[in-house]
């Protein structure tokens, strides 16, 4: 009988833990902004353009990150991801007369390494996944924007006396394998260590294996907010990342459309509102909207 009792106790423990987890979830549920779909799509886009096709089909697949709190994050129990990237994506989707909250939008996870292949193969229609604009990427996919400019900073333990990347020469600094941040860390003289996700890095900083981790300041702010009192963001930004929207090279006409939607969002304040809502809580101040690149 002792065995059965132990089992019952264990089961009760699991039930309580599950209950607690459910409560925790309800607490920080961020639904994001409600963006209403436009209804003027008849004849809005020229015949034969990708936008007309998407609006006609009423379906779109958007590539976002799942593991970056504040930008693109999807917990195990969330139906749709949340974050600034997602909010900007909603504006684009809505402009195609598709309801961003409906199941006509598929939020596909695009990790750093498969953003170009997914765009090239048409698995996703647009990518908004903290996607830095680089010349090399522009050879294979279309990129426009930026809709956000951020810089790389350092995340350390609360009690650490590291003040910036200069203090980390020759030390191991964690970032995500296959990201630009990792290369920037190496260029600054630190030893880059690559993990699979930012949360794994944060875990390793917490347990003291690595002195610091580094990536875009906005992502770090999100992680610091998640582990309040244990982690802090330090130092000046030591790189400039221009975060843009990725689209397939087969549909260059999308560039003008994306820029148009972004421009409108900059002007009518919905961009600032989205920023406030998603990145504001972790202490990032809402900046001026960035200057958009011209479409080639």
């Amino acid at each position: 009988m002792r065995l059965r009792k132990a089992f019952a106790a264990g089961a009760a423990g699991i039930a309580i833990a599950a209950g607690l987890a459910a409560c925790g979830d309800a607490g920080n549920d961020s639904e994001g902004r409600d963006v209403e779909a436009a209804d003027d799509c008849d004849g809005k886009f020229d015949e034969g353009t990708r936008m007309a096709e998407l609006a006609e089909a009423g379906k779109i697949t958007v590539g976002v990150k799942y593991d970056q709190p504040g930008l693109g994050f999807k917990g195990a129990t969330d139906d749709v991801p949340s974050g600034f990237d997602v909010e900007v994506a909603k504006l684009l989707v809505a402009d195609l007369c598709i309801d961003p909250a409906s199941s006509n939008v598929t939020w596909e996870e695009t990790i750093s390494d498969n953003r170009e292949p997914y765009l090239e193969s048409g698995k996703v229609d647009v990518v908004l996944a903290s996607y830095s604009i680089t010349d090399d990427r522009r050879k294979v996919v279309g990129q426009t924007g930026p809709y956000m400019v951020t810089g790389q900073q350092i995340l350390v333990k609360e009690d650490s006396d590291v003040a910036g990347i200069e203090d980390l020469k020759g030390k191991e600094v964690c970032s995500v394998t296959g990201s630009t941040s990792l290369e920037n860390v190496k260029a600054k003289g630190a030893k880059g260590v690559g993990a699979d996700s930012y949360s794994e890095c944060a875990e390793k900083v917490l347990d003291g294996t690595y002195a610091a981790m580094s990536t875009d300041g906005s992502i770090l702010a999100g992680l610091a907010a998640q582990n309040e009192g244990q982690l802090k963001v330090v130092g000046d930004e030591f790189s400039e990342e221009r975060i843009g929207v990725g689209y397939s090279k087969d549909h260059p006409e999308m560039c003008e459309w994306i820029n148009g939607v972004l421009e409108k969002a900059f002007d009518d304040g919905s961009w600032a509102e989205a920023f406030e809502l998603t990145l504001g809580p972790s202490g990032v101040e809402t900046p001026e909207p960035p200057e958009l690149d011209a479409c080639q």
Partner: protein, 229 residues
């Protein structure tokens, strides 16, 4: 298809495979030793050790390698087991926590397969050999060392070589866990040079094929050399 990405980063390419190769070598030695100890436990006369041996093999062999990595990276530190103290620097290579953890996880895992490979060899040795060795008064360890293992090793070269080849490719799991070995470096390069993905991928695939081919050739040579005339 252009290979500039690789040619411009040759040092990184070779360093990546250097980590893969180092990890393979130290893990091979450790898992061969641990595997031999395990097989001695499993075929030995002491019941407790026999049970311990089979429980270990069953438990570890039936756990996915990634879970073993996750355990040593994220669970073990909570109960005070970590490898932060490992700080070996040779030339431009850093053997630190990530390498040590990969080494431990891979060795514990591969030892099971080595053990079972060797056990198939032990089973191939006719019973009479062990009985004869006992009859002339050799103790258990003597029987193992002088009579059984030399014959068993010969018979188990192919399965043990297979286990080691699988382990060589399993080192790529470490690439997801903080170690800049070949697979992780490949992912870094495909990100920086998105337009040359295919070339980068092929170069790294060839790297692995060459390494595995070398191991296969060593195994073949040993098989030939130890063949009974």
């Amino acid at each position: 298809m252009s290979l500039e990405a690789i040619l411009d980063n040759l040092d990184e390419f070779f360093k990546a495979f250097g980590y893969t190769l180092f990890l393979f070598l130290v893990t091979a030695v450790a898992s061969l030793i641990l595997g031999t100890i395990l097989v001695a436990m499993r075929v030995g006369p002491i019941a407790v050790l026999r049970v311990l041996g089979s429980v270990y093999v069953t438990l570890v062999r039936n756990t996915p390698l990634v879970l073993i990595f996750i355990f040593f990276h994220f669970a073990a530190p909570i109960i005070g087991i970590n490898f932060k103290w490992v700080q070996v620097h040779i030339g431009t290579f850093d053997f630190t926590s990530a390498f040590a953890t990969a080494f431990v996880a891979l060795s514990l895992y591969t030892a099971c397969f080595v053990c079972e490979g060797l056990r198939s060899g032990v089973n191939a040795v006719p019973m009479g050999q062990a009985e004869a060795a006992r009859a002339i008064g050799l103790p258990f360890l003597g029987v193992m060392r002088e009579v059984i293992l030399p014959q068993a090793v010969r018979a188990s070269v192919p399965p043990v070589a297979s286990a080691l080849i699988a382990m060589l490719k399993n080192t790529s799991v470490a690439g997801v866990f903080f170690l800049a070995e070949a697979t992780a470096t490949m992912r870094g390069l495909t990100n920086d040079y998105s337009s040359q993905r295919i070339g980068i991928f092929l170069c790294f695939a060839v790297g692995y094929i060459v390494l595995v081919e070398i191991v296969s050739m060593i195994s073949l040579a040993l098989e030939r050399r130890w063949r009974i005339a």
